[in-house]
Every structure is written in C-alpha cells, then in structure tokens.
C-alpha cells in the first residue's frame, strides 16, 4: 500500500530569471519603456548644460556646439531621441487607463484622453521649430 501524508511541504518554488524581460515581446517592450526614463533625464541634463554654456560666453557655447556635432554625439542623441519618443508615446497612450474615464465615470474612447497630449506636443514642436528657424 502506498504511504500517503496529509500535507506535502516540499513544494517547488520556481525563481524568476534575472533576464525575465527577455521572455516575451510584451515584457521587453515594458522594460524598454521603463528604461526610456534614463534618456529623458539625459536630455534634461543636456539642456541644463546647454543653458549653462549659453549663459557663460560665446566661446563656451561654440565649444558645446562643436561637441554636439561630433558623429558619436549625433549617434548617442539619435538613440536618445528614439527612446524619448517611445517614452512620450507609451505614456500618452496610458493616459486613458485612468484620467478621462475616471473623470467622466463612464468608458470613453481612448483617443479622447490621449489626443490633448499629442495636440500640446505637436503645438509645442511647431512653435519651437518656428523659433529655431527664425520665423518667430
């Protein structure tokens, strides 16, 4: 006769891999979204450095511009821009998860919640572009 016990304490407790975010595309997309915050911080610091150089003198600002024109910096900034866009788009798309639906207390199309963010973003980009090109 087999010996039965009332309670089996020897459960197997699987541990998560340190590379769990590589298990599927959804996890990887999440990890990329979270890590995009680093590049947002990078652009903030870069802007502060640029303003500091601008506020010092023309020579220092010219040096900053020369540094930013280096091919390595262009590649770094292109990667950072890609992550920055990922950050903005993914978080704008998450807005309908809370704000508008909660305010109106009924389901609303996602686009109604996300659209104002994109409109403000688009408007700010146009104004900056006009300012940089000297139109404003």
């Amino acid at each position: 006769m087999p010996q039965y016990t009332q309670y089996q304490p020897k459960e197997h407790r699987p541990k998560m891999s340190a590379y769990w975010y590589l298990d599927n595309w959804h996890y990887l997309r999440y990890a990329l979204r979270e890590s995009s915050s680093f590049f947002v911080a990078y652009f903030c610091v870069l802007t502060l450095v640029q303003l500091a150089a601008l506020g010092t003198n023309a020579t220092r600002y010219a040096r900053f511009e020369a540094f930013m024109a280096h091919p390595a910096m262009i590649i770094v900034n292109a990667i950072a821009l890609a992550f920055f866009l990922l950050h903005a788009i993914t978080w704008f798309n998450l807005v309908p998860r809370v704000m508008m639906r909660q305010i109106l207390a009924r389901p609303t199309p996602d686009i109604i919640s996300s659209a104002p963010n994109y409109l403000v973003w688009f408007g700010a980009t146009i104004i900056l572009a006009l300012f940089i090109t000297g139109v404003l």
Binding site: E11, M16, N24, H26, Y30, V98
Partner: protein, 246 residues
C-alpha cells in the same frame, strides 16, 4: 497534417525530491479537442499519475489555468489545433509554488483575496425590506470587474507578482475595486487601508499583461490605475481637511 500532436508536460513529484522536468506524450489531434482534452487523454490512457486541476470545461470555474507554450491560458478553452504541428509545452502557472506536476498552491492568493474584503460591506444597520435597487449606470460602473473567475492567469502574467511575492496582485485588487464601485458598498476606507500599501496598488508598474491574458476580458490593470487615482484623491482630501469626514 498528422493526426497526433506531442504534449510536453511539466512533471514534479514532491516525494522524490527531484527537480521539475518535462515528459513528452503523443495525443490525438482532433479538431474539437482543447489542450485540457489532451491532458485528460494522458491521464486516462497513458499515465494516471499526472496531476492537474480542472472542473467545468467551459471557462467558468477558472481551475485549469496553465502555461501553454509560455502563455498563461485556460486549457479548457484553447484548441490543441492552434498549436499544430506541435510540440505543445504545458507547465504550471508561473509565480506560484508547485504542489505536483501542473498543480499550484493557491493559498497565498486566497489569503490576499480575503484580505481585500471582496464582498459588500455595510457600516450601518441598513436592512432593506426588498432588493437594493441599482440603475443600469451603477451596474455598468463595476460590471466588467465582477466577471473575474479567480483563475489567477493575471498573476502568472504579471512579472511584479513574480518579483515581489507580497504584491497583492491584479485579481484581488480588481475585485476590491469592483466592490468600491458598487453603490451598495461602504467598505472603501477599509480596502484603501489595505490596498494603498506599497505591496498593493503602488507595486504595480503598469506592465499591462494581466489585462491581456484575462480570459473573461476583465481589465485588472485599469482597476489598479483607477484605484491609484482614488487613493491619491483620498490622500489629498485627508491632507487638506484632516478633520473632515471623507
């Protein structure tokens, strides 16, 4: 197309002290067979020692959740044919202790579920003489969250549940939210005390997979984010009006 398919099934026997491994079984590939039918074929015809949970076979009881090719799935409503020509890898739900083969220990989940008080809480002595009337709008507010069948697929899909075993988790928070939104309920303050902890709503980092895998189309991720907004509003109210009634 072959009329059979290989099922690679996770095996774990707590009594032999070994590590989990996979065992392959060849089962008939029939157009109307679900993954669960394949497992039942193994149990009935090939190896009676295989352990797994199932009951209703119609996606209602939530017992037969397993990882099928790495995705949390209700095996009773997933066609074997979807995985042809195979092989199909069937494993116990991720992030749960394994009792035997495909059976996981749900005690921790059930304790968390009970903690959030997923029932109508009344603070007064209100005893309705007849049924409590609710408008369609009041029902609509919580209806989708009431469809949860506690299958725990959302826990298996949530990496936070795996990384932090203390996380209350998607289903329990969604059900807490369901009762918060119920016009008959008065237990929101009790639940906020429990769920507004680090191990509650603030542990969620909006991965969103819980809502993707839910077989009943509940949106636990939405519930958690809405709960965060409610908790934040309540905190501001208590901060601005510390002696006020909230």
């Amino acid at each position: 197309m072959s009329d059979t398919i290989i099922l690679e099934v996770a095996r774990f026997n707590p009594e032999d002290g070994g590590e989990p491994s996979y065992q392959s079984f060849e089962v008939p590939l029939r157009p109307d067979w679900m993954v669960l039918d394949g497992l039942n074929h193994i149990k009935d015809q090939l190896d009676g020692s295989l352990a797994f949970r199932w009951s209703c076979r119609m996606g209602i009881c939530g017992s037969c959740g397993m990882m099928v090719n790495g995705v949390p799935t209700l095996t009773c409503e997933t066609l074997l044919m979807n995985y042809a020509p195979g092989p199909v890898r069937v494993a116990p739900l991720d992030h749960f202790p394994v009792v035997k083969d495909l059976v996981v220990d749900l005690d921790d989940f059930l304790a968390k579920l009970q903690k959030v008080r997923p029932w109508v809480v009344r603070k007064d002595d209100f005893k309705p003489a007849r049924e409590f009337m609710q408008s369609p709008a009041q029902l609509e507010a919580f209806h989708q969250f009431s469809l949860c069948i506690n299958c725990t697929l959302c826990y298996a899909a949530c990496p936070v549940s795996g990384l932090d075993p203390d996380f209350i988790g998607p289903a329990a928070i969604a059900l807490a939210h369901r009762y918060n939104l119920d016009s008959r309920d008065q237990g929101i303050e009790d639940r906020l005390d429990i769920v507004s902890q680090h191990e509650g709503i603030w542990d969620c980092t909006v991965v969103g997979e819980c809502s993707v895998v839910c077989p009943k189309h509940v949106d636990p991720s939405l519930a958690i984010q809405q709960f965060k907004l409610t908790a934040t509003k309540e905190w501001f109210k208590s901060f601005l009006l510390p002696r006020g009634k909230h």
